[in-house]
């Protein structure tokens, strides 16, 4: 059950996505900007999907890199073997990652910090194991994909399409009965069970979906980067990236992860070259400030500003 979906909202959303899709056609942007935007779309899709679990269900995962890496390497292997064209390989990667995510079932009984710690363990163990598994990941030297300039150019729209779909799905999820059930689980597992909301079932479902989307993103990332190595794709920094994007943008909101991913990509791109470590301090500081003062992150800050502006305007009128 999704309830009444406002037509105008859907139209406006489709319009925005279409506008962004038209940008490279209408304005000739530099290849650098083109690629940066592509990367931002991938990160948007990933952080939105992370937010289903971390924000909607309230189970903060520090291990999503596992699904990202599995998706990346499954897609890379399929493309390299020539078995499937790239788009189908990405979808296969997403499916595999979703199935692997179902393996988290026994962990989903754990709540709060216990769950988070277990995900750190899974993430780090998979990094070690997949780096060792040379037959699949190429070991520490990684895998190189054939460089395909046309595909890389087209990835802009593939990435945008993915981000657009996942964004729409997040919005529907938030509005749906399922979204309310997830909120109930987040607020109180036992009370949710009393009214017939099975935490086990819905957490499995959402973790599987979230993992599948992150795996799909990993598949696109493999094509985008054309060179992938397990210590990067399965790295702790990847997992942290999803957490930071969603939390900085606004944990549990629909719009937050999008905003967070854009800020994350821009900051990283502009700071990494000149101040390689500044991002640590910046993200750390942001995290502290957000948790203490504005748990809804940048989205919450925006809402607060909007409310103040509206109040000021009403004050002037009266």
């Amino acid at each position: 059950m999704i309830g009444r979906v406002p037509r105008r909202g859907v139209a406006a959303y489709a319009g925005v996505v279409a506008l962004v899709a038209a940008v490279p056609v209408v304005f000739p942007v530099s290849p650098y900007t083109h690629n940066l935007l592509t990367f931002a779309f991938l990160m948007i899709a990933g952080s939105l999907a992370w937010n289903w679990m971390g924000g909607f269900v309230g189970q903060v995962s520090f291990g999503h890199a596992t699904m990202f890496g599995i998706g990346g390497f499954v897609a890379a292997r399929l493309i390299l073997s020539g078995a499937l064209p790239a788009p189908l390989a990405w979808i296969a990667a997403g499916l595999v990652a979703g199935v692997v995510a179902l393996g988290a079932h026994p962990m989903l009984r754990l709540r709060g910090p216990y769950f988070s710690i277990a995900t750190i363990g899974v993430g780090e163990a998979s990094r070690v194991i997949f780096t060792y598994w040379e037959g699949f990941t190429g070991g520490s030297s990684g895998l190189s994909l054939p460089i395909d300039p046309i595909l890389k150019y087209q990835l802009y729209w593939w990435g945008l399409g993915l981000a657009g779909l996942v964004g729409g799905a997040s919005w529907l999820l938030r509005r749906s009965t399922l979204g309310l059930q997830l909120l109930a689980i987040k607020a109180d597992v036992e009370a949710a069970a009393d009214v017939g909301v099975s935490a086990t079932f819905y957490q499995d479902l959402i973790f599987c979906l979230s993992g599948a989307v992150v795996g799909l993103t990993g598949g696109l990332y493999a094509s985008y980067f054309a060179y992938i190595e397990p210590s990067d794709l399965f790295g702790f920094d990847r997992s942290i990236g999803f957490v930071l994007m969603a939390v900085i943008g606004g944990l549990g909101t629909v719009f937050g992860p999008i905003l967070g991913a854009v800020v994350f990509v821009l900051l990283r791109q502009n700071l990494l070259a000149s101040y390689p470590e500044l991002y640590l301090g910046l993200y750390g500081g942001l995290l502290i400030v957000i948790i203490l003062f504005e748990p809804l992150g940048l989205t919450g800050l925006g809402l607060r500003l909007a409310r103040r502006v509206r109040r000021a305007r009403e004050g002037r009128r009266s």
């Binding site: 910090p113 640590l280 750390g284």
Partner: protein
Amino acid sequence: MARFIDLAFSAILQAGLYATMAYGLGLIYGVLRVVNLAHGGVIMAGAYLGWVLFERWGIDPYLSIPIVLVASFVGGAAMYRLLVRHLPRGAAGGPASLLLLFGVWLVLRYAGYRLFTGDDRTIRTTYSTDAVSLFGSFLAVNRLAVLGIAVLVPVGLHLLLRRTYLGAAIRAVAQNPASCTIVGIDVERIYTITFGLGTALAGLAGLLAATIFSFNPGFGSGELLKSFVVVVLGGLGSIFGMALAALILAVVETFAILVLPSYLTAAVGFVMLVLVLVLRPGGLFGQRVLG
């Protein structure tokens, strides 16, 4: 057989380090029910503090133990007063405290890079490479000292918790903070002291680790994860449980070399962490509050 004895000794020495790293995390969790994700950062900071004291003022790392303890205590108490105290508690506070302290860790790492660059550092004393021979195995003097301290710390903690008024107050707060306010225990003060104590122990662990390993500002993440394994395995807050758990972790890790390719032994601790959480969330020895 000689190889077996070598491995056994190295496991015991390793256990000493793991236990020292875990006590602080376990103490804070046991009393405040907060997972201190900044733990790894404090371990790193303790290592650098020891390094600065040694390089600048020539203070021997073992003599700088009290300095590091006091400095980390003050840092931890400040962290509690300024940050952790303002968090929502209970079910809603779980992810918030985790994320906040993770932010603290990132800031600490950044400070480490700014102050000391990313270069690897070591504390090299005149006795750093000394070893004693026992049953044909060579044991590094530094590792033996760490083991000695790892045995002294839980004894000291036990005495503090069981024999002093402060210890009784800490245990009472761990069990039921609401009732403590009725009998006149200043709960916030106890929390501050406990957080300071836990941080001091993490700083100590960092200092001790620095006498054995080289380190850089990224140091501490592996240590944090090992500490998790020990705390969870030992039953979240039980001090002697943690010591035993450290021994189990070290033995399993060390002897895994016999059956696993050496590269994969790095995953053993992580796999244990997940298995223990899933199979025995209360720890191997059942849950006790600060025994």
